[in-house]
Subunit: 146 residues, 4 copies
């Protein structure tokens, strides 16, 4: 597993998605609601996993999130543009871990790790990551990841 | 069409749904975001139309919303309980209009009208309201509605 | 009041905001949830009313939405880019009406009218639109609007 | 720190909040969107921390979430009722950890840990947990927590 501090560096990521904080994303504290950070992680994740030009899931299989760990580092506000970087931190037999950094201007506002399981759509059971998927994910391995 | 003022009276409704305003429903103005009122209307609408014990849609058909008109009368805040009343205001050949009142404590905080079209799932075209549906909807006609 | 059909034409608008439909904006019907259309209208509205470089509200006053009427014309899906055009349809003593068109690719997917009231922040009462605001709004009058 | 398996047991919790999954909480996969689980955790958290009859925050201070770790165990669907239990897992000098279990019928559908920091509203800096807060939190310590 790479150094967690890497998730705070833009240079750690090759896959990027951009979101803009909506007025409706704010809450009564005046800033972007913390659950919206989970939505931004999802936006980056699905954009990475289901890229229309190169979907990663094998036919008949889907990715299921088993765990999301989110470190909040700074507030976001209405109209802020957020760049979401996604990388692969680790691969296991039937699952892998994505690392994400959320950046606004010069700051990392959040870092996240997501454990993704590959599931057979018909049986709803976890299945082994095929070699093709392993090779595709390997292209996005963070420095130091295995 | 009944008097619009009827939507501000609890007595106009027989079908009810309850929602509670979440912290995440608020926005930076400190109150419940106005789009959440549309969500509350939807909660009342789908609860009325797709009641698990007596779904109104004929087999192979779904209801599609064509128009939503929402009058905002008062603010809602975190933790407020909202009672959503739903009634039928009018029936036409392929569509009908629902009237809704949103109530918090003693006040009507919003009133809404929704035009719903019955659509064939396969052809994605509007179809005539069958007699059975007309009879079911008639049981929820607001006083003065036709 | 201008012809309602104008809201379906991109040429009717000079003020624009862009949103992208998030994965989280979809619902179990597979398309973008209808309440998100109200959020998109809000995005266009607040972007128009509270433009950071030229806010329209006089000091000590805010805009309050009194009515939202939304015509749904087509579905939106995950990743769709939506251009939201905003124009002024009518001005009254203490309120005005905004017209909006939501466009995705070549189609108008929704049209909306919003009645906005100018409210004194301290007294929470409606106040007259000052001349400066009238002049600012006039620059965005839709063809045929008064 | 108590055994993580405790978060899957209703008996571990004394503070409870209930949410119902809205139609708008679902996504195109047909189930409740995963970010809504973070919203449900927030509902339980703010209900626990800002109980109107006994707010835990000292005057002039607020709680800020520094980390949220969410384990997804089962899907939720439209209309599901979710009971959110909240307990205190650990207290440190300027922060504490909440443990949460989300339950639907007989199943634990998610477990979460949240690190909360006590922040001075004026200086925006972390401050020490006062004795009164420590005593209040201690009443909700999970078995085995310190």
């Amino acid at each position: 597993m790479p150094d967690p501090a890497q998730l705070a560096e833009r240079a750690s990521f090759r896959a990027w998605t951009r979101e803009t904080a909506r007025f409706a994303d704010t809450d009564r504290l005046g800033h972007v609601n913390n659950a919206v950070f989970a939505t931004f992680c999802e936006s980056g994740r699905v954009s990475f996993l289901y890229d229309a030009s190169k979907p990663l899931a094998p036919p008949g299989a889907v990715f299921v999130i088993a765990r999301l760990a989110l470190d909040f580092r700074a507030e976001l506000h209405w109209r802020d543009q957020v760049d979401i970087g996604t990388a692969v931190l680790a691969m296991r037999r039937r699952s892998f871990t994505l690392g994400q950094g959320l950046f606004c201007r010069d700051a990392c506002v959040a870092a996240a790790e997501s454990v993704m399981v590959l599931m057979d759509e018909a049986t709803r059971r976890a299945i082994e990551l095929p070699d093709r998927l392993r090779a595709d994910l390997a292209a996005y391995l963070a420095p130091g990841a295995t």
